[in-house]
């Protein structure tokens, strides 16, 4: 009985105290909130250990059992503990692993930065190829999306301004009465991009944001009131 109701009471009580502390930030609730925040920080620190344990255990088992891809697990475990070792060594020897002359910083500059940057840069190729295949004028909505995407892409880079300068010149040649300088300053692509980002895009984003917040509140209430109990594995 207590196994089930105990955590529910604990969650309800803690949430109630935190809500009170938020609206009444005076003693004793204000101090209580500070204490809770410190506990939260400590607990979140320990989650790193939990992650380390889970990751190391999973891959060590794979290595011991010689499961498929065990060599990659070996690489992972070696890198993990190698990084940990150099981090601790740098901490003891240089007061911080982030000291510029520390061995950890060497590892960071010449391994972590290039590896992560390469991984992220590779995405550009896939996105590029996917965009080429996905942006097709199949219907009105897809066409509008394509036009908006092109406007944003052109408005976001200096080449957009150069293209617009060329178009302005062309318009001026066809209609000599138009003022070329005013046309150039109009910067159609950049102006369209600014408008698209600030108005339709932000409106949609705000709607999604409000929806997410309402969903978050609803889920929090379900957890506080004990309706949602999945965290108890029930």
């Amino acid at each position: 009985m207590l196994y089930r109701t105990g955590p529910l009471i604990l969650v309800f009580g803690t949430a109630l105290l935190l809500i009170i502390a938020f609206f009444i930030p005076h003693k004793p609730f204000g101090d209580l909130e500070a204490r809770f925040l410190n506990w939260y920080a400590i607990i979140s620190g320990f989650t790193f250990l939990l992650g380390l344990d889970s990751l190391a255990r999973h891959h060590l088992i794979k290595i011991v059992r010689r499961e498929k891809g065990w060599f990659y697990s070996l690489l992972l475990v070696t890198s993990l503990f190698g990084t940990l070792f150099w981090g601790l060594y740098s901490w003891i020897r240089y007061a911080s692993p982030f000291a510029l002359n520390a061995p950890f910083m060497w590892l960071y500059k010449f391994m972590i930065i290039p590896l992560q940057a390469t991984m992220f840069a590779t995405l550009a190729f896939f996105i590029f190829s996917a965009a080429y295949r996905a942006f097709r004028v199949r219907n009105l909505a897809a066409t509008l999306l394509l036009i908006a995407a092109c406007m944003v892409m052109l408005g976001n880079v200096p080449i957009g301004s150069s293209i617009w300068a060329g178009i302005s010149w062309l318009i001026h040649q066809i209609f000599p009465n138009t003022n070329l300088e005013i046309l150039k300053r109009w910067e159609l692509f950049a102006a369209a991009k600014d408008w698209l980002m600030a108005i339709p895009q932000a409106a949609a984003g705000r709607g999604i944001g409000i929806g997410l917040a309402l969903g978050g509140i609803a889920m929090s209430l379900r957890i506080i009131l004990g309706i949602e109990r999945t965290y108890l594995s029930s």
Binding site: F48, F98, L100, A117, Y132, M153, N156, I159, S161, G205
Partner: protein, 277 residues
């Protein structure tokens, strides 16, 4: 009657991805080798971010949070360097912190580079307080007392041993918070430090994240926005010190242009391949 496909149009609509990869490589690498000169247009959100720092009186405290890691460094690191240059030029005091442990060394590298350019001294002009776990709890906690979470700097030196840090206790003492983020951390700073403690915030983020920030910008929950490599190059233009972002813009320009050309070709092929003969 079934539509008849013309092979040429069909080819245009389905160019081999290896050709696309090759073209992309060429249009990105060539401008990086040639370094063509480009003129950067400064957008309003970036100008607003610049003005937020420009208007601060001397010795004001600016807290910069490194909320990105090396994967986003090519886009966000130039922003950090440009902002540090601006802060040091204006004689502002800088506190560096971060919500991603793996991002902080990037901050240390940038500080080391820029402080030398302006003869700034660690502890007198800037402090790196490092990383602490806690995320949103930490953001709320700083509103009460920064020492509850950061008793020392990243090397273990007590905060009170730095003169300007003795007057910094919470958000009231921080004139501006700059979050350089590649994920949802910027949202959290806005929601916790901004909404609850009225902290003035500017956001620098990757191009992918920038659209999510416009709603905060138009609601004036942030006072400026620097989005992606373009935003970084605009900020570099404003501080009159072109750097990595300005160097990278021609490559980004040509890549965007190539994609638009490919989209046009692909769509012409798509439309014509569907036409009945």
């Amino acid at each position: 009657m079934k539509p008849t496909f013309l092979p040429v149009w069909r080819t245009l609509a389905s160019i081999d991805r290896r050709i696309i990869y090759l073209l992309l490589t060429i249009v990105v690498v060539l401008p990086l080798i040639i370094h063509p000169k480009i003129k950067v247009r400064v957008s309003e959100p970036v100008r607003a971010a610049f003005e937020s720092i420009e208007k601060l009186p001397q010795n004001s405290v600016v807290m910069i949070s490194i909320d990105f890691d090396p994967s986003s460094a090519p886009e966000v690191q130039p922003m950090l360097i440009a902002i540090l240059r601006h802060c040091f030029k204006k004689n502002l005091k800088v506190i560096l912190t971060g919500q991603l442990a793996l991002g902080l060394p990037l901050g240390e590298i940038a500080l080391n580079q820029v402080s030398g350019e302006y003869n700034k001294v660690y502890g007198r002009d800037y402090v790196n307080i490092g990383y602490r776990p806690g995320s949103t709890a930490l953001m709320v906690g700083i509103g009460r007392e920064i020492r509850d979470f950061f008793k020392t700097d990243y090397r273990g030196v007590p905060l009170d041993s730095f003169e300007f840090m003795r007057r910094v206790h919470n958000y009231h003492d921080i004139a501006l918070l700059v979050t350089l983020a590649h994920g949802a951390v910027a949202d959290a700073w806005i929601q916790y430090a901004g909404a609850r403690f009225n902290q003035k915030i500017i956001v620098g983020c990757t191009g992918v994240n920038a659209p999510n920030m416009y709603q905060y910008l138009s609601a004036q929950q942030i006072t400026g926005l620097i989005g992606g490599l373009q935003g970084a190059s605009e900020y570099e233009t404003l501080v009159e010190k072109p750097g990595a972002a300005t160097l990278g813009m021609p490559a980004q320009s040509t890549a965007h242009a190539l994609l638009i050309i490919l989209l046009i070709i692909g769509n012409i092929g798509f439309i014509l391949s569907k036409k009945k003969i």
